[in-house]
């Protein structure tokens, strides 16, 4: 396997479409966050062959709606720019050179950008900056997303994780033609390129051509897939903010002190499900079903950063009551007060989710990716089941006792509205 190029094929013949997904992997760089969000959008605004958004849209329409999608994600301290295209399998289209057109289209978007005097076009950058600005402003309208962002900024205020990978409004005006060009050069010349393919068997014979066009490469550095940065907090931070809203949003942020590549990570996943990630969880059953305090309440686990956030949408007058009850539920689990049936339901839920992911090429590609880089062994659902079902209640109790409450954040109505 030593000389094998990082290009992987997943057969999914029961689908109508094929997918090509290209990852550009780089270390996370807080100073370049806006440029990295903007770059794929700028590239998808025009290339030498398809010089405008309109021309690109036309081409993707001609190719039966083969839109190219691009976005950036963060795993630990690593940032990944993903370009992907999904297109009909050859058996459904008449055009004999259909796959050639698809490859040329994708290649053009990434490797043949529209330039003026060797730089990305200023007007395009300005336009994408304006659109990003409005999207970042619009987060305010989605109170769930807005409150999570505020919570995150407070909990991780002295850590790089406070910087949202979706872009930072306050520094958006620093983006320049030069900084964008630098960002593009870094992407093309200094990142590790990996390719995932999925679809009909005939796609496999295209691998050599895809290799030549997109040049997948081995990493030149080892990436940090886990972000362990943690500022010391001697006591629990409590923050309250107000807005003219009807429903309060309450967050409790716990440090898990367990990360994705730790041995007890899977036990933590079981714990999180049991605590609040499905409709039989303690939080859902007690906070919603018994006490009727919330329409929604959920816990979410972030293994790349090592925290759990518990979030509830509640009546402003009941915030304190909800807070006390949520903490009581966590304490109850920490004391080991849960049944074997509770554990079995949570494990079965995780197993069922894993089965469902087998139907989704995107989810499969992601699992293979994580296993290659973080677990250093191939992904297999059987191995996952074997590891899951041997987890003992003591292990769950142990990870529960590593939970440390860090931040309580409440977004609630303006005082004068009460």
């Amino acid at each position: 396997m030593l000389n094998q190029k990082p290009i992987y094929f997943l057969p999914t013949p029961h689908y109508k479409t094929n997918t090509i997904l290209i990852r550009f992997i780089q270390p996370f760089e807080p100073k370049q966050v806006n440029e990295r969000v903007l770059l794929p959008q700028v590239l998808l605004s025009g290339s030498r062959d398809f010089p405008s958004k309109q021309a690109i849209q036309y081409q993707s329409d001609v190719l039966y709606g083969s839109d190219i999608q691009a976005h950036i994600t963060r795993v630990g301290n690593t940032s990944i720019t993903i370009f992907q295209i999904s297109f009909l399998q050859q058996r459904f289209v008449k055009e004999p050179n259909f796959y050639d057109q698809i490859l040329a289209f994708l290649h053009s978007m990434i490797f043949r950008p529209r330039l003026f005097q060797n730089r990305l076009i200023k007007k395009t950058i300005e336009q994408e900056r304006r659109l990003l600005k409005e999207n970042l402003q619009a987060v305010y309208n989605d109170k769930l997303e807005y409150s999570f962002q505020r919570f995150r900024e407070h909990m991780f205020q002295n850590e790089s994780y406070a910087t949202p990978e979706s872009g930072v409004l306050a520094t958006l005006h620093h983006v320049s033609q030069a900084s964008m060009q630098q960002c593009y050069n870094d992407l093309i010349n200094h990142s590790f390129v990996e390719i995932d393919l999925s679809g009909s068997q005939d796609l496999e014979q295209w691998i050599p051509k895809i290799e030549t066009l997109f040049q997948p490469t081995k990493p030149y550095v080892s990436f940090q897939w886990v972000d362990r940065e943690m500022s010391n907090r001697s006591e629990v931070q409590q923050i309250k903010e107000t807005l003219p809203i009807k429903q309060s949003r309450l967050y409790l942020g716990y440090r898990t002190q367990t990360y994705i590549n730790d041995e007890d990570a899977l036990a933590l996943r079981v714990l999180n499900v049991m605590l609040g990630d499905f409709d039989q969880s303690f939080l859902f059953q007690v906070i919603r079903e018994q006490l009727h305090l919330a329409y929604y309440v959920q816990s979410s686990l972030f293994l790349g950063k090592g925290f759990i956030s518990i979030m509830a949408g509640i009546d402003p007058s009941k915030a304190q009551m909800a807070l006390e009850n949520i903490q009581a539920i966590v304490a109850k689990i920490q004391s080991g007060d849960f049944s074997d049936e509770d554990i079995a339901l949570a494990k079965n839920y995780l197993a069922e989710q894993e089965q469902r992911a087998m139907d989704m090429p995107g989810a499969q590609m992601h699992r293979h990716f994580i296993h290659r880089h973080i677990f250093h062994q191939p992904y297999s659902i059987q191995t996952f089941f074997e590891q899951l079902f041997v987890i003992h209640r003591d292990e769950i109790k142990r990870v529960a006792n590593k939970l440390k409450l860090d931040t309580i954040y409440l977004l609630t109505e303006d005082e004068h509205d009460q």
Binding site: P13, H14, Y15, K16, T17, S52, K53, Q54, Q57, Y58, S60, D61, V62, L63, Y64, G65, S66, L88, F92, Q127, R130, L131, E134, N135, L136, Q137, A138, V139, Y140, N141, D142, K143, Y146, Q149, R150, L169, A170, L243, P244, I245, K246, Q247, F278, D279, R288, E289, H292, A294, Y295, Y296, G313, D315, L345, N348, A351, E352, Q355, R356, M358, D359
Partner: protein
Amino acid sequence: MISKSYRNVDEVLYETRLPNGMKVVILPKPGFRKKSVSLMVPFGSIHTQFQHNFTKEVLQFPLGIHHFLEHMLFESPDRDITRKFSEANASVNAYTASNRTVYFFSTTDDLEKPLTHLLEMVYFPTFEDSLIDKEQQIILQEHQMYQDDPDQQMYYTFMRSLYENHPIRFETLGTEASIQAINAAHLQLAYEIGYHPSTMTLLVVGDVQLDEMESMLGGYPYLNHIPKPLEYTPLLHQETVQIAVPKQVISVDTAIPYVDLGWKLPQEWLQDPTQKAALEISLNFLIEMLFGRQSDVYHKLLQKQWMNENFEYYVLIEEDYGYIRFHLETNVPHALIQELSSILQSIDINTIPEKLFSANRNRLIGSYFRIFNRIDSLASFFTDVLIKGFDVDLLMERAVHIEKSLFQPYVEWLKTATRCELIFSNSAENKGSSE
């Protein structure tokens, strides 16, 4: 079972009707692990009035009863229904829309147990006062959550601006007062009238064997029981031609002002399902060409910075109403409305190049194939098609054979029809910044 093959997309669908009148539709999808089962009841928030078929007596239901009923079907004094599903490795959920309530579960495991739970929850509900009180509080929380969502608020304000009489004006959840007033008698009556087996459809999508499904469904005695005949029919609504509130500016707490433009479709276009299916495809296609992401208008407005890429349009065609809605984010709402208005006046279908026309047709064809990639998208697509009585093959054929000449009457109508203009705006600048 009757089979129907869709040659264009290489799929076969099976249909049958059980002795109690419930329709069963099965779409086998070998190779997928997930199986999805939906039970659709054509009882949604616009079905507020029912008329007795002989006495002509009219029953009026309280607002929000459909959604309340949906919540109550998950409640039982002697068993924990969602837990039963979880124990069978299935996850269950439901939603209430304007024209239907749908209960559904999915699993990668055996179908029999969760199917039994699904049928039992829908066929044998109970309405106990203590459970009604509990659910009332949860629904009020849900109602409160939507009050903070400007998108939801805009949608309902838009509906109230467009419609004078039709109950699509009202929120699916009802009002705070109507939710609080709902009692066991209301729920019982709504259930008896709205949930007649002969109107329901059971849709199964996934890797299933037909003979196994048939023998499974034969195992429920109550599905073989012939119910008393359907006595009530939902009343269709007479909507006026004019727009309820043609122009309106509302001050709300939003990061970026919103603009909605809307048109009510003429009643005479909404006569039968075939006509409606053709109308839905044609209008979507026309608007996509005129205002979609490949149109000159779209890119001109983007470059002028008069809107952003969150521009959406909706063509909705239902039982007794239909509308077109444009939804835009803009910092210059008044100027944008004026510009769109003059663009609409000058539409000329003949100026659209033939190659854009065929590109758009390719996109539409591609979109049908993509639906078949996911069990979930298939289930929701077929739910919609079955409720509306559309024929899937016809949709595909229409898409393939769509022609420019079809559009002229719609273009003429768009130029002259009265429309609704709604602005949600906030004078405070720079909302949403994190400082």
